[in-house]
Amino acid sequence: MKANSTYRIALNGVVACLLLFSSQLMAQRTRAQIQAEVAAYQELSDKLMRVFLNPQAPEVRRLAAADTLVIVTNQELIPRVLATFRNTKESDTIRSRALGLLDPQLVRDDRLASEVVDLLGDVEQSPTLRRASMKAVSLAAVAAPAMIQDAEKTFDVLRTVAQDKDLTIRRGALRILCAFGDDYAQQLLIDGLKEENADLLPDYEAVNLIGLDSHTDYYPDLLKIMQSTKDSRTRLACVNILGPYSEAQPVILGYLNDANADLILRRAALVSTQANQPASFSEITAGLVGDDSAPDALRIMAIQTVMYQRRSPRVRPRNEGELDQFDQNVRSLRSRAKSEALGKVVEDYINRLKIDF
């Protein structure tokens, strides 16, 4: 362990020096400097790769080398790194690290992608290897979506491991499936939310994932959860995603106007209301803006929201006669705003909307 950390510190030191050198000169760096940095890195990288690929080297040294390398840059070495990943005589840790080094290859190598999915679904494999596979599949969600979208096999495996015993794998699978709007995963999470002690993930996290691509079918269940949960985090997560649901809007408005509610919940309710009821937002919040007992944070956010809504000449008030209650309440704050932040946003509002008549 000591050898591992000493080696890593030394290697990181070299890289840190390189980075420091480059960042100090960043604004005026030259083409020659970049070329020199790349050449220096490649030399270092080749040395480290030789260490990593050497089965005779101590594992701690090999792992430290991989930590510094992050990816394979020398294309000629890719087959050897692939062989290390596939070599069942290597330790699971070394194989996992080899897979990590191949991140860039994942997007262009069908066979590798398929092997990764197989590993993920094979519960007989070690947790280390399966977690490395999960990481690789997560990467595909943003860099190689067809590995997921166009491959029913991947979906099947992800659905299977969505209830895996390993939380890391379960969470990763549910995140991907929900991002792709998978009904099965969303229903699994809804069921988990409705049944105590059956949770796959913490409730608030399940709500967040359903919200990645939520179907309106789930809104009624989520509304019930928002109203019944005792967990403030879950309620907050519901507020963030339920704004488009008309049945939920009065409840969310209630949170906004509840002087006893947590400020974080009231802030989320305010943002949800402006996002989903923009036409009536100024009317809804005019009273709040004029209420000196309301938290400044809410008043500032409300004023700022309406300022941006009305900045366009299309909706900006044109003269004194067109000022509504919201405008008048903001103008009246000019003389009595107690905090500097509130005073500044009031001035911005008046100047931006050109209502300094």
Binding site: L18, S45, T73, A143, M147, R175, E205, I300
Partner: protein, 597 residues
């Protein structure tokens, strides 16, 4: 072949004569406005005091496009920085900090008066801003004209000259990166002269944004830029123009609009003497988000919030990215070479729209291989996640009320501390060392690009293609991806799109034997800007079902890049429009730490 060349040239000329679109409303024409202080074309009398009203005027220079007057509003560009102005329609009274004026549709002048309300600290730090104010339109900035509030104006010289930055009288294109921008100087009172006037063009001492210069005819298109600290010119005595080139001095970008000032000084026996003209402009480049000044950050956030909340323009980016498939991202076994040019166009379009709101704004990049505590803070892109995995904001931050598609807040739960870089991200040296040919370099789509998404998104929006754009950090992440490509291009001299080392595959999508999807070949037009749709299937010649957003908005200037229907060809060399054989500033994009040529 010759006919094709002539046709191409004709297209360029015709598009150059057209009006640039309003970046906020691409189907509407943007008035190009000229402002004159003291009712003269020359800048040498652009000085005002706090006691006397000075007559000014403004007009639309592309009046053919308008059938009725354009309502607009005069304001100070920044009420908290530099000399301040008040405006009047009559040249009497105390004046106001904003004034509505109507620009006649026929191109005739609208008159107004200005005087100072507080003195300048340097020349050109008082800026008249003219905003679009038509009831049917959004609030695009139409012009910014720089002057000075002072009791000691420069003396008016015998030689009266006009200076045109970017070779036009409008100020909306007075922005330079590291690529060369053409300027002209002309002797206005030339009948009084019987010999040319020699002059030197240089930086005004003490300015922030620094400029470099080159003589007309000294540059080669696509391969060179200005590099000299001054250029000597000979201004003809027949009233014709003399041209020269100006570019930002690499390493010395502006912080705010008009903080770069070029001055034209008369030469007497080779010695600089009387100042003939001074013009304010900006060296506008993309910068590291972590190093932005509070002022730069505030302007960016304001433009970003207005883009989404005022003009409702951001949603289409989410729609485009969620719909894009083979055009924008690699697929298992079928790579997407257009990943880099497609995203280059994608973020450029957003940047152009932000510049319609505030021309001084550029898209900053999040340099994800290094710690960026200033980026992940509650007064910028959001602090560490709250208990539910949402980014946290100070209530005064315009992003504190961010919403998109009805969802409130920003779902983002990074797997790293704000004082650390994300783990597992390939270093820049490693990325730039992936190979010197394009197909090798393209592997960066996995790491660092994909890894940066996954490490930052956590279970949040950035972690998946379908939701990533909802998080405004997406654009900064991809700005850095683009910067890495630009750095790689610079390091390996990979600017020529016709070289397969710079981009491949070449040509257009073939009738038979295609290896990648349509839209990925060098000369294919890219979806959605080509508005081409298909069945949304996975066949190589298929396009998505819809093409949100319309054609690519045009630049404000004579050289249009990358064109309304960009191809990878048009994006590879972002510094120069390769369709034109003239020296030109291309897309007008530059990075603070990536040089040109």
């Amino acid at each position: 072949m010759e006919q094709l060349k002539i046709l191409g040239l004709l297209v360029i000329i015709l598009t150059s004569l057209g009006c640039p679109d309003n970046p906020l409303r691409p189907d509407e024409d943007l008035p190009l406005v000229e402002i004159q202080v003291n009712d003269t074309e020359q800048f040498i009398d652009d000085y005002v005091t706090t006691s006397t009203w000075v007559a000014c005027r403004a007009r639309i220079t592309n009046s053919r496009a308008f059938s009725s007057a354009v309502a607009s509003t005069l304001i100070n560009m920044d009420p908290s920085v530099g000399g301040q102005l008040v405006f009047s329609s009559t040249g009497s009274g105390s004046g106001t900090t904003s004034l509505n004026i109507s620009l006649p549709a026929d191109g005739s002048w609208a008159t107004f008066y200005v005087r100072g309300s507080s003195n300048s600290t340097r020349d050109k730090d008082a800026v008249i801003q003219l905003d679009e104010d038509r009831l049917s339109m959004d609030e695009a900035v139409l012009a910014r004209h720089a002057l000075m509030v002072t009791t000691a104006p420069l003396p008016v010289p015998a030689a009266e000259v006009s200076l045109s930055i970017a070779a036009s009288t409008t100020t909306i294109d007075d922005y330079a990166g590291w690529a060369p921008l053409s300027c002209t100087v002309r002797l206005l009172n030339h009948p009084s002269f019987n010999s040319p006037v020699t002059a030197r063009v240089r930086n005004l001492a003490g300015t922030t944004g620094q400029l470099v210069f080159a003589a007309d005819g000294s540059l080669t298109a696509h391969t060179t830029t200005a590099t000299n600290s001054f250029v000597d010119i000979t201004i003809p005595d027949d009233g014709s123009t003399v041209s020269f080139y100006v570019a930002g001095d690499y390493g010395s970008p502006s912080i705010r609009d008009k903080d770069a000032v070029l001055e034209v000084v008369e030469l007497n026996a080779g010695i600089p003497g009387t100042v003939l003209s001074r013009g304010g402009m900006m060296v506008r480049v993309r910068k590291n988000a972590n190093g932005l000044t509070p002022e730069e950050r505030e302007r960016f956030l304001d433009a970003y919030a207005a883009h989404n909340s005022t003009y409702d323009l951001y949603q289409v980016y989410q729609d485009i990215h969620a719909t894009a498939r083979y055009e924008a991202h690699s697929y298992s076994g079928v790579s997407s070479p257009a990943f880099l040019p497609w995203h280059r166009a994608f973020i450029l379009r957003l940047e152009r729209e932000l510049q319609g709101i505030d021309p001084s704004v550029t898209l900053p990049y999040w340099r994800f291989s290094l710690a960026a505590p200033n980026v992940f803070s509650d007064d910028f892109m959001g602090g560490p996640a709250d208990l539910t995995g949402y980014a946290t904001f100070d209530p005064t931050n315009p992003l504190s009320t961010w919403s998109i598609s009805g969802f409130a807040g920003i779902s983002r739960d990074p797997n790293f501390d704000p004082v650390d870089p994300p783990s597992g991200i390939a270093s820049e040296a490693a990325v730039l060392g992936l190979g010197s040919d394009y197909s090798s370099f393209l592997a960066m789509e996995g790491n660092p690009h994909g890894t940066a998404h996954v490490q930052t998104g956590g279970g949040g929006w950035l972690g998946a293609i379908s939701t990533a754009v909802r998080d405004p950090l997406f654009m900064m992440l991809h700005c850095n991806v683009d910067r890495l490509w630009a750095s790689w291009q610079w390091a390996n001299d990979r600017w020529d799109p016709n070289s397969t080392l710079a981009y491949s595959p070449a040509g257009t999508f073939p009738a038979a034997g295609a290896t990648v999807h349509i839209g990925n070949y060098l000369e294919d037009t890219m979806w959605p800007w080509n508005e081409s749709t298909g069945s949304g299937g996975s066949a190589l010649d298929e396009r998505p079902l819809t093409a949100p957003g319309g054609p690519f908005p045009q630049t404000q200037g004579a050289i249009l890049a990358p064109g309304a229907n960009p191809r990878p060809f048009d994006l590879v060399d972002y510094r120069s429009n390769r369709v034109s054989s003239a020296v030109n500033p291309g897309t007008k994009v530059s990075y603070d730490d990536v040089g040109e040529f």
